[in-house]
């Protein structure tokens, strides 16, 4: 077992780290305040290949693996979690299912757009009445000649406001239960497709989160992703993959919080000494660092398992996502605590990390759902 990253991976990590510190960090607080979608960040990152890390080179991507993607997302999320999730969604929730389940025409049409960020991707799974219960959503798609008539509303869609390429899940045959679910690629400008208001969220405020609304939307027949009835499988597999990235995002936020806490602890004095000399502070830093290391290894492990081509890795990716998100919550809480009153003030970045962290435990499957996935996997002997 080799715990070392390859030289390539180290170079990637190094490059993204520098980029994040020099280009993303200076604007992170501002975009959180204004909630504007960080197009300037996106454009710069697209030039470096970060929006299409796992997209094959022939389609304009970097043709790299999921471990590399995890490294990219972690480094970005250390300074700007909003930008981190935009990259994660574009790569693993949109480009990946198109790559894995789409046909040659769909690859040629959509992957280059996503890789170069000429269009941003979004995935529409969640609905107002279907959060954890993915299969309970109500959107429908009826085949009528050369197009599907799509009806329904998707909610809390990351990148929604700016998305040009959306993967939307709808029932083509409700009578078949979850085997009657299908996936579609819906482009902006599709007649009948509109977007809701920008959601005002506690954290990850600059991701253009909104509803996707379909009212007799005309989606061309060719935009069916995979086959009719394959939607649930596509959704579940895609979530298995994207959980690795959300785990990486959580590790990034946690590491950013730890770095800030260490820096502050070294500078701040109380009772005649640096607060870093107090065991309470040392205890917090030690806990944070250990948990982050464990979370990172779980994320890397899940990524490596996926990269090796192991067909089922739900357990690994759920473990990574669950543990990393809990670690992240604990880390941001302690980081604010180390900063004392200053951590409660918007003058310090940890205040933003604190607000950004909470959703890690909720989206892409709540922690409770992750535990169910892990337990089921164990009980089935996988």
């Amino acid at each position: 077992m080799d715990f070392e990253l390859t030289q390539d991976q180290k170079l990637i990590q190094d490059m993204v780290r520098r980029f994040a510190i020099n280009e993303l960090e200076p604007v992170a607080a501002e975009i959180d305040r204004t909630r504007e979608f960080p197009w300037q960040n996106i454009k710069k990152m697209a030039e470096l290949g970060l929006l299409g890390v796992i997209v094959p080179e022939q389609y304009g991507g970097a043709g790299l693996d999921f471990l590399s993607l995890a490294l990219v997302i972690e480094e970005i999320s250390k300074v700007c979690a909003s930008t981190g999730v935009i990259v994660a969604v574009n790569n693993s929730l949109v480009a990946y299912p198109i790559l894995n389940f789409g046909n040659g025409d769909q690859h040629k049409k959509y992957l280059p757009l996503l890789a170069k960020a000429e269009k941003i991707g979004a995935i529409g799974l969640t609905e107002p009445n279907a959060g954890s219960d993915v299969a309970a959503f109500e959107s429908t798609a009826v085949l009528e000649g050369d197009h599907y008539r799509l009806n329904g509303t998707k909610r809390f869609i990351t990148n929604g406001r700016e998305a040009g390429v959306c993967i939307v899940f709808a029932y083509t045959d409700k009578s078949k239960g979850h085997r009657g679910m299908s996936a579609f690629v819906v482009e902006d400008g599709t007649p009948g497709f509109s977007k809701g208001e920008h959601e005002d969220l506690m954290g990850l405020r600059s991701t253009g989160n909104c509803e996707l609304i379909f009212e007799d939307a005309r989606v061309p027949k060719e935009n069916l992703l995979g086959e009719e009835g394959q939607g649930f499988k596509i959704a579940m597999h895609t979530l298995d993959v994207s959980r690795i990235d959300i785990g990486a995002q959580a590790v990034g936020i946690a590491q950013g919080a730890l770095d800030a806490a260490v820096k502050y602890a070294k500078e701040r004095k109380a009772f005649g000494q640096s607060i870093s000399e107090f065991q309470f502070i040392q205890g917090m830093l030690a806990e944070m660092a250990t948990q982050i290391m464990a979370a990172r290894l779980l994320v890397y492990h899940a990524a490596v398992v996926k990269d090796r081509g192991v067909p089922r890795f739900s357990k690994e990716s759920s473990m990574a996502k669950w543990f990393a998100s809990e670690t992240c919550m604990n880390a941001v809480r302690m980081a604010v605590q180390v900063h004392g009153g200053y951590g409660y003030s918007k003058d310090y970045a940890v205040e933003r990390f604190y607000r950004d962290a909470k959703v890690m435990e909720i989206y892409e499957g709540t922690s409770e759902i992750q535990k169910v996935v892990i337990a089921r996997s164990l009980l089935q002997g996988t």
């Binding site: 969640t126 009445n129 279907a130 959060g131 954890s132 219960d133 309970a136 909610r155 809390f156 959601e199 005002d200 969220l201 506690m202 954290g203 004095k269 109380a270 009772f271 005649g272 107090f278 309470f280 502070i281 919550m329 809480r333 604010v336 605590q337 004392g340 009153g341 951590g343 409660y344 003030s345 918007k346 003058d347 205040e351 604190y354 607000r355 909470k358 959703v359 435990e361 909720i362 989206y363 709540t366 922690s367 409770e368 535990k371 169910v372």
Partner: protein
């Protein structure tokens, strides 16, 4: 815990007030950062701004347990209003009541207790947080005036307070034994309220700097004896901890109430959320911990009412209640899912408000040191 019916009646009154007057504005003041003067006036009219003080000074003539209940009930709907209330009573008024001369009490307390004026406590400084004894603000006697120089930071209601009880050192070489306490009124020459903080939570409560540049206050505004400042503020904090414990308790209860309602109504996988064990677990833990917190807070309040020194019990109450509140508010968002992150539900506000209870009026780390010291000695 079985309380006398008079407390239950009092709770009902405050709860009614909180629901009718405070709750409707809670989300708005959090979003805009506005201070609600209307609410402050209403609280004054209800006698909430002077609960544990004698009627002869304009107080309600009730006890600390009643006060704790009031803070709890207000915080249950609005943490910002809760902290404003707690800071006003425990930090702004209490030191004057406990350490002031009769003349000072008669002068300053009535408008504060009736709610015509807002009180605050200027202890924290940029370089003196947990190490409150590292005060750098100075006070020098010049004829019949004190000249104050320095800056205070993170002062609840600082920018809007009419009366401030502050600490300043007369002799830095004496360390904590050089500190004295003073009463400063808004409008004193050389005083200005400084920058307002933009905060993670409790955004409807004003937090700001206090800036003293050759600020002149009358000689009679010395609170207690010279060099007694450290003792006064430690005593103030002991009582203040109970109120922050009550605030944490209230926020936690609010989070629990919202969670119960949501779990009853939200259906997923064909069943209401309340049927799922992992949801049940969260609710059960919240209920148990908040109940335990309530016992600790009320116990400390009752001890104080009995005239006991509550250094340890106050710290325990605040420590436990704040940590229970943190867990409860996090679980509340979890139960609400993504909706819990929008301002359509109060839980994200409770979550942000909760964090301060682990920090303000002594961090949890300081609480642990205080408790350990009481048990182990120095």
């Amino acid at each position: 815990m079985v309380l006398d019916t008079k407390y239950q009646r009092f709770r009902d009154e405050v709860r009614e007030f909180a629901t009718q007057v405070v709750a409707p504005k809670a989300s708005h003041i959090d979003q805009t950062g506005e201070f609600s003067w209307d609410t402050a006036k209403e609280m004054g009219r209800m006698g909430l701004l002077g609960i544990p003080f004698p009627k002869k000074y304009g107080g309600a003539g009730l006890d600390h347990l009643s006060y704790a209940i009031a803070v709890e009930e207000i915080s249950r709907v609005c943490g910002s209003t809760g902290v404003t209330l707690a800071a006003h009573v425990s930090l702004g008024c209490y030191p004057i009541y406990a350490s002031g001369t009769e003349k000072q009490k008669r002068k300053f307390l009535p408008p504060l207790l009736k709610g015509d004026k807002i009180g605050s406590f200027g202890l924290t400084e940029p370089n003196a947080g947990s190490d409150a004894g590292a005060t750098e603000t100075t006070a020098e006697l010049a004829g019949d005036e004190w000249i104050i120089n320095g800056t205070k930071r993170f002062i609840t209601s600082g920018a809007i307070a009419d009366t401030m009880v502050i600490t300043a050192t007369q002799d830095r070489s004496k360390g904590v034994h050089g500190i004295s306490a003073f009463i400063v009124e808004k409008g004193s020459p050389g005083f200005s309220p400084g920058r307002e903080e933009e905060k993670l939570g409790l955004r409807g409560s004003i937090t700001s700097e206090l800036v003293f540049e050759d600020c002149r206050i009358p000689k009679e505004n010395l609170l207690g004896q010279e060099y007694e400042g450290f003792k006064i503020f430690m005593q103030t904090l002991d009582g203040g901890r109970i109120s922050i414990g009550a605030m944490a308790l209230g926020i936690g209860q609010g989070a629990l109430d919202a969670s119960i309602e949501y779990a009853q109504n939200r259906v997923q996988f064909g069943k209401p959320l309340r049927k799922f064990q992992l949801i049940q677990r969260m609710i059960a833990d919240m209920e148990t911990e908040i109940s335990a917190a309530r016992h600790l807070v009320y116990h400390a309040a009752m001890l104080k009412d009995g005239g006991e020194v509550v250094t340890k019990e106050g710290a325990m109450a605040k420590l436990y209640a704040s940590e229970a509140c943190m867990r409860a508010t996090s679980a509340a968002i979890q139960i609400h899912g993504c909706r819990g992150l929008t301002n359509a539900y109060p839980v994200e506000r409770f979550f942000r408000d909760a964090k301060l209870t682990e920090i303000g009026e002594g961090t949890s780390e300081i609480m642990r040191i205080v408790i350990a010291r009481e048990i182990l000695g120095r």
